[in-house]
């Protein structure tokens, strides 16, 4: 079973990499890009029947640092 976890910096946490990407887009001539936030996607291949609670536990304990990051779980 595939599970996807999106990890993003929390709102309000400065994302210098996203800012650098925004500047680079501007220099390529893409006007009007007001903001870029860069995160990561983690794909898990887990045993059938793995619960969202278990995946949440994975996120809390390892996949995200909840001091600065938020996560979203997409089951199946």
């Amino acid at each position: 079973m595939k599970v996807r976890v999106d990890v993003m910096l929390k709102n309000g946490v400065l994302d210098p990499q996203g800012e650098a990407v925004r500047h680079a887009l501007g220099s390529l001539g893409f006007d009007g890009v007001d903001g870029v936030r860069q995160g990561k996607v983690i794909e898990l291949d887990v045993a059938e029947g793995t619960t969202e609670d278990t995946v949440r536990d994975m996120c809390e304990r390892l996949l995200a640092n909840t001091v600065i990051e938020s996560y979203q779980i997409h089951m199946g």
Binding site: V13, P16, R61, L62, N65
Partner: protein, 222 residues
Amino acid sequence: MKAAVLVFPGSNCDRDMAVAFERAGAQVSMVWHKDTALPSDVDIVGVPGGFSFGDYLRCGAIAAKSPISASLKAHADRGGYVLGVCNGFQVLTETGLLPGALMRNANLKFVCKALDLKVETSQSDFTNGYNAGDIVTIPVAHHDGNYSVDDETLSRLRGEDRIAFTYAQNPNGSTADIAGVLSENRRVLGMMPHPERAVDDGHGGTDGVAMFRSLVASLETA
């Protein structure tokens, strides 16, 4: 005084830290990350700099979940001393032994140079060899040293006098110029700059010596 230095795959300042402790008079043992126990009677555990586990996922995140880290946490919970430098500081925030997180440098540059630090407090066994307000020169070498804490934590750190060092000139965007912070019981110090790289004339400076000497002196008499 007994010190243990943890070694992870990708650690590269472990031997420097061991030498710094040895020269100050400590007996040092190296502890591999797969070990589950620290040597008995260890007074202080050094968590060294480097790129543990290739900085995969987040700097220090995998090391913080390695087998030895449970013992590290238990040691700290018992009131044991811990010094985390650079990647070691990242490991300590990832284990939750210190608040906050180390993010990518705000200017996105890897910074590698000797910097002036201000000693913010001498009220710890790490810093009682300095005077508050002293300026010391200690090298930094990191890409993810941008220390981030929320306002509430920052005011708690200030109120409890737990900011150990600040940068004279902020190289990475860290909150309130913070270079190193202490735990609530003042026995865990995490810092981005490398005091173990400033203990020999050949290093270009010896301002780190006082930290290792004061630790050994305090822990010998304890």
